[in-house]
C-alpha cells in the first residue's frame, strides 16, 4: 500500500505494508540513516523522532498511524530553535563518545526543551530515561540540557 508522509517538510510516497515501522521507512526506504536501530521494542530510544513535535519511538510506530503529521528527524532538528541549542550544547559539553545513541538522545532532549524551557533534574530524568547510552554519557547529557535551557532562558 502507498502512504504519503511528510518528513522534515518534504513530501514522500512509500509503498510498504501498513504495519511497517516508521524507522525502516526512514532508514531503508528513504535512505535517512541518521535515525538509529537499537532494540526494535521502544526500550532504548535510539530511533527517536518527532511526530508533530512529540518525541516518539519510530521502531514501534507503524507507518499507517502517521498520516499527515509532520515528522522531524535528526537530519533536520538543527533547523528548530530547541534542536539547534541542544546540538550546540552537545558540542560545547563534549557529550558524544561512540555517538550511535546520540541521534535519539538529541531528539528526546530537543522535544523536552521545546515543551519545557526550564527542565528540573526530575524532568530530565523523566524525559531522558528511555534513552540508553552504552558509553555512559548521562552526566554530560544532563549538563548539556541545562546549558541549552540556560541559553534558551537568556535568549528570552
Amino acid at each position: 500500500m502507498t502512504f504519503a508522509i511528510q518528513v522534515n517538510g518534504n513530501p514522500h510516497s512509500v509503498d510498504v505494508d501498513g504495519d511497517t515501522p516508521l524507522l525502516w521507512v526512514l532508514r531503508d526506504v528513504l535512505g535517512m540513516t541518521g535515525t538509529k536501530f537499537g532494540c526494535g521494542m521502544a526500550l532504548c530510544g535510539a530511533c527517536t523522532v518527532h511526530v508533530d513535535g512529540v518525541a516518539v519511538r519510530s521502531c514501534i510506530t507503524p507507518i499507517d498511524s502517521v498520516g499527515n503529521s509532520a515528522i522531524t528527524t535528526i537530519e533536520a532538528i538543527g533547523a528548530t530553535p530547541s534542536g539547534a541549542k541542544i546540538q550546540k550544547a552537545w558540542l560545547d559539553r563534549e557529550v558524544v563518545q561512540c555517538g550511535y545513541c546520540q541521534s535519539g538522545q538529541i531528539m528526546s532532549a530537543s522535544a523536552l526543551l521545546a515543551s519545557n524551557p526550564r527542565p528540573t533534574d526530575a524532568d530530565i530524568d523523566d524525559a531522558m530515561s528511555g534513552n540508553i547510552c552504552r558509553c555512559g554519557t548521562y552526566g554530560r547529557i544532563r549538563e548539556a540540557i541545562k546549558q541549552a535551557a540556560q541559553s534558551s532562558t537568556q535568549g528570552g
Binding site: 511497517t20 532504548c44 563534549e94 550511535y100 530524568d125 540508553i132 552504552r134 558509553c135 554530560r140
Partner: protein, 732 residues
Amino acid sequence: MIDHLVSRVAGPARSSSAKVLSRRTFLQAGAAAGGGLILSLRLPLASAEAQAADGFAPNAFIRIEREGPVVLTMPYVEMGQGTYTSIPMLIAEELEVGLDQVRLEHAPPNAKLYGNPLLGGEQATGNSNAVRASWQPLRQAGATARALLVSAAAKRWNVDPASCRAQRGEVLHAASGKRATYGELAADAAGLPVPENVPLKQSKDFKLIGTPAKRLDTPAKVNGTAMYGIDVRPPGVKIATLAQSPVFGGRVKSVDDAAAKAVKGVRQIVRLDDAVAVVADHMGAAKKGLAALKIEWDDGPHAKLNTDVIVAELEQATLKPGAVAENIGDVDKAMASAVSKVDAIYQVPFLAHATMEPMNCTVHLRKDGCEVWLGSQVMARAQAAAAKAADLPLDKVLVHNHLLGGGFGRRLETDYVTRAVEIAKHIDGPVKVVWTREEDIQHDMYRPYWLDRLSAGLDANGKPVAWNHRFAGSSVLARWAPPAFKDGLDPDTTEGAIELWYGLPNTHTEYVQVEPPGIPTAFWRSVGPSHNIFVTEGFMDELAVAAKQDPVAYRLALLDKTPRAKAVLALAAEKAGWGQPLPQRVGRGVSLQHAFASYMAHVAEVEVAKDGSVRVKRVVCAVDCGIPVNPDTIRAQIQSGIIFGITAALYGKITLKNGRVEQGNFDTYQILRMNEAPTIEVHIVQSSEAPGGIGEAGTSCISAAVTNAIFAATGKRLRQLPVDTAALKQPA
C-alpha cells in the same frame, strides 16, 4: 576533519615510493605521489617477523602534500574512546600543526603494516593501549617531519636552520620575514636525509598535549551524518536479518517459509546449516518475514545445558591444582603461622557486550571478488574471515571500515563477517545483514564466567602475611591468539590477580583453564581485570574487616612500595569525604587497582533501599595514568567506564537454560539509565610518567567499590555479581 564519514580505503599504496634507508631506521621519508612528503614509521615493538619479511614495515603514516591538510593514517579505530583525537594530538604537538589542520584516514586492513605490538601483532584496537603504544613513536614522527621541513626551508633560504622556527604548518625566518607552508616545502623535504634522534619537547613545553582538545569526530555525530557500518547503502542493497540456532552447536532441521515469502517486500529466504536469513527490501519486511518463519531446530549436544552445570564444573576445577601464575615467598609456611584466617569464594557471570549498534555487516560477493562494509576493531581479521568464507584470496577482498557504534571487545570478533558472507553467497548483489537485538544478545561471544577461591592469613596486627588465590574459567587469549597462551597461562586472564600493588610477602596464585561447553567466550571491556579486581579488592576489604581496621587505612599501610597507588587512594578518599558520617543504609566503598599501566582508586557511595534495591549515588575517582594527553577524554572515558561497570555490577548476567540464552533485549538485559546514573568526579594526578591506558580502567575498578559500599551500608558481603537485591532486603 575526518575522512571516515565517507567510505574509503587508503594507505600504504601511496607510500610505495618511500625508500628504505636502513633496517634500523625507525622513520623513513619519501616523495608522495604528487610531489609531497611522506613519513612512515614502525612502532618499536612491531613483530620482527614482519620486518624481516618486508625489509621495512611501516606502521602509521604522515602525508604532507603540496596542497591541503596534513594527512594522518590511523591504525586504530574510533569506537567512542576518543582515539581519533588523542592520537593526532601526539603527532601535531611535535609537527607544529593545529588539530584543525590535519585530516584523518582509516588504515586499510594489513596486519603486517598496522599490527598492534601490544596485541600480539594483530591489527586491533583493544586493551586500552593505543596511546601507550604510540606515545614515543608518533611524537618522534612529528618531530622528525618538522626537522626535515625546517631544514628544507633553511636550505632554500640559505640560512641556519636554528634561526628558523615552525608554527601552525609553516616555517618562519624572523630575521628576513620569510615564510613557507609545509606543503610548499614538502617536495624538498622528501629529498633530504632523515635526521636521527630529533629531540622531543619537554612536557613543560607542550602546547597541545595536556589540553582538553575538542574531539574531531563529534560534529557529524550530532546531526545524523556520521556513517556507522549499519548505515552503508551500496546501490541495490537488500536487507537481511536472521535466526541462528538458539542453542550453540545446533542445526536447522526444517523450515516452512511459505508465510514468510508471502510478506510484502521479502525477496528470498536463505537456509544455512545453523541459521536462516530473510532477505528483503527493508528491515521491516525482513523482520516480519523472520517472525513468519516456522523453523524446527536440531538442538545438538548442548540441548540440556544449564548455567549451573558450568558453575559446578568450575567449582570442581578449583579444588585441583592449576598453573602457577605467581608465587612469592612461602604461603604454606606463612599460613601455618597466621593468627587468623579468612576464606572466600567469588564468582562473576557471563556477560554480553550489547553495543548500541547491533551486529551487522554488508557484503557484495562477486565471482572475482568480495567487498565488505562494517565497523570492526580488527580490520585484517575481518578481511581474512571474509576471504575464508568466500573462498577467495586475501587481495580479492576489499574492506571498508566505518565508525563503530560501540566495540567493548565484541568487534574484536569476526563471526558476524563470516555469517554475512555465508548469506551473501546465496544472493545476487549487495546484502546488509542486520542482527535483531535479540540475536545480538543471544549470539554474542560472552565475557567468561569465573569462579575464585581465596584464603588469607593475618598476623597479630591484622596484616595479611599469606594470600592464596586459585581461579577457573575460560582463557579468551588461548583461542584468540594461541601463542600468547603458554604453560596454562595467559597475561590477560591473570592481570589484576598477580603483581598486586600491596607488596604482600607471601602470595600464591593459580589459574585453571576451563572452557565452558555450549557458550563462546570473548574479550569484554576491561578483560581480565573486569574479574580480578572485583575479587582482589572485595577480598582485601574482607581482610580489613577481619583485622577490624578501616578499609582505606588498611590498604594505605600496605602501599609504601607503590607510591603512585598510595597517592590515588589517598586522593580519592580525601575528595570523597571518607570517614564522614552517612545516613542509615548508605555506605562508602573503596577499590584500588593497577591495570592497563594506570593507577586508579574509586570511592563509591551507595544507598540500599528497604526492598534491597541499590542505587549508586556518587563515585569519586582518582587516577594516575601518566602524562594526561587529553584530560577531557580521560574524564569522559572514566565516566563511561564507571557507568559500564555499574551496569554489570547491578544487572549484568547471561544465563543458559536448555542451552538457550535466557536474556534477549534491554528488558531482560538491563542497562543503567539516566535516572540511575551517579554523579561522578574524576581527579587526575599530574604525572610525568609515560601514559597508561584509560578506556577500560574505570570499568574494572568499580564493581568492588560498589559491593564494598553495600557492605558498609548493610553489613552484607556480596561475593557474586550481579548484586543480589533479595539478599539485601531489610528484615521487617
